[in-house]
Symmetry: C3
Subunit: 181 residues, 3 copies
C-alpha cells in the first residue's frame, strides 16, 4: 500500500504544479482584461496587498518628450488601483488592449516567476496601433491557496534593464519527469 | 481501498480539467490556422452544428465606410462555412493571419467559456498590417467527448459591447486546489 | 491491486503528456527570449545537435530587394549559433522582440510538432514596428528526457509554402479522454 500511496502523492504534486501554471497564465491575462474595461477591483484582486509595480517610461508612445523619463514605482495594491483609476490611465479607455505574452513560467512552491512580452495597443480613428512593446518580469506569491502578482517590472524593448530581465528569464530547457512519479 | 480509489478518481477529474483546458486552447488556435489556409472543412469541424458567430463591423479595416455597420450574425456551422468560402473572406487569402489570444478560460462540466483578444493581420506589398483588433467571448460545448465552439462573439476594441464582454470575462482569481484531491 | 496500479499508470501517462505540452510551450518562448538578449548558449541549448532551421526571406523587412530571396537553411545547432552571433542578427539587438505564438501542438511519444505564428518586432526611434509575420512548423525530439527543437521551418505569411504548413497543421479537433484513464 505504501507504494500506491506514494505514487498517488507524487502524481498529485505534479498535477498541482500544472494547475498552478495554468492558474498563473490565466491570472496574467485576466489582469489585462480587467484593466481594459476599468474593472479596477478585479485588477487589484490580482495583486498581493504589498505588490510592487515598476514600469519604465510609463508615458511612452503617448508623450514623446517623456521617453527618457525615470521609472514609475507603485508600492502596494492600493497604489496600483489608484494608478488604474487616474485620469491618465482612464484616458486610454475604452480604446486600448493590454495583451500579455508570450511568457515563460516557473514555479517553486508558493512562489513563481514569469518572463516575457506585453503589447499595449490603442485604437485611433478605427485603426489599431501598437503603442508600447515591453519585456516583463512577473513575480507571484501564493497566499491562502490563491496566486497573486507580487511584483511586476515592465521595461521597453531596447532598454538595458530589459536586456537584464531577458538574461535571467524564467525557465530553462531541462529534463522532463518520467515514470510513475 | 476506498480512500485510494477516491483519491485516484479525484485526481483523474483534475487531470481531465487540465486536458480540457489545453484542448480548448489548441482548438481556438486551430480554427485560426484553418481559416488562414482556406481549410473550411477543419474550420467548420471546430464548431457545433448549431454554432453562432456574431461579429461586429465585419468589414472593419477593409472598408472605411462600413465602420458603423450592424453586426453580422451567422447561425449554424453551415453558415459559418459559407462565410469562409465567400469571395469577401477568400479575398484575404493567402496574405492574412488570424491570431487568437491571449484569453482566459474556465470550464464547467461540458461547457466552457473564454474571453480575450484576437488580431487579424494582412500583408500588403511585403509589409504586415494589423487590420482588426477585437475582444472575443468564446463559448464551447462538449458533445460525444469532443469540444467544439458553440458561440463566438467578436467585437472591436473600443465598442461598448466589447467593454461588456470584458466586464464578464471568464475566470477570476481564486484559491487553487491543494492536497491529494 | 492490479486495477489500482493500472489506473495510476494510465493517469501518470496523461500527466506526462500535459507536462510535455507545457514544457514545449515554454521552450518555444524561451528560445525567443534568449535570442532577444544575445544569450546564444541558451538559444543553442534549445536545439538538438542536428537541428535544422529553414527560414524563407531571412532579410524580409530589413532589405526590400531581398524579398524574393531563396531560403536560408541552417544545419546543426552550431550553425544556428553562428547565425545568432552574426553581425546581421546582432544588428537587431537590443531593439527586437521575437514573439512566438499562438501555436497548436501535438505530441507522439518522444516526438512533437507545433504549427503557428511568430512575429518579429523592432523598435526604431521609440516606436515598435512589426517587421516579420511568419507561419512556423516546429518539430521537437526528446533526448534523455529533454525536449529540444529538432527542426523549424519559418515562412512569411502569404507564401505558397506557408499555406502548405497551415494545411498540415498540428492538432485536430478530436474526442477528449474520459473516465479514470
Amino acid at each position: 500500500m505504501k507504494t500506491t500511496t506514494a505514487s498517488i502523492t507524487a502524481l498529485a504534486e505534479r498535477v498541482q504544479y500544472i494547475e498552478d501554471e495554468l492558474a498563473l497564465r490565466n491570472l496574467m491575462v485576466r489582469y489585462g482584461l480587467a484593466v481594459d474595461c476599468g474593472d479596477t477591483a478585479t485588477a487589484v484582486a490580482c495583486h498581493t496587498g504589498d505588490a510592487v509595480y515598476v514600469v519604465s517610461a510609463p508615458r511612452s508612445g503617448r508623450d514623446e518628450a517623456d521617453s527618457g523619463a525615470t521609472d514609475l514605482t507603485l508600492k502596494g495594491a492600493e497604489a496600483i488601483g489608484n494608478m488604474l483609476d487616474s485620469p491618465l490611465h482612464q484616458s486610454l479607455l475604452p480604446c486600448c488592449a493590454h495583451t500579455v505574452g508570450p511568457v515563460t513560467l516557473e514555479i517553486s512552491g508558493d512562489e513563481a516567476r514569469a518572463t516575457g512580452y506585453s503589447r499595449l495597443y490603442n485604437v485611433k480613428e478605427s485603426t489599431p496601433h501598437l503603442q508600447r512593446l515591453a519585456i516583463n518580469e512577473w513575480r507571484f506569491r501564493r497566499d491562502s491557496g490563491q496566486w497573486r502578482i507580487a511584483r511586476r517590472e515592465s521595461r521597453l524593448v531596447g532598454e538595458d534593464q530589459a536586456q537584464a530581465l531577458l538574461r535571467q528569464a524564467a525557465w530553462r530547457p531541462r529534463a522532463t519527469k518520467t515514470g510513475l512519479g
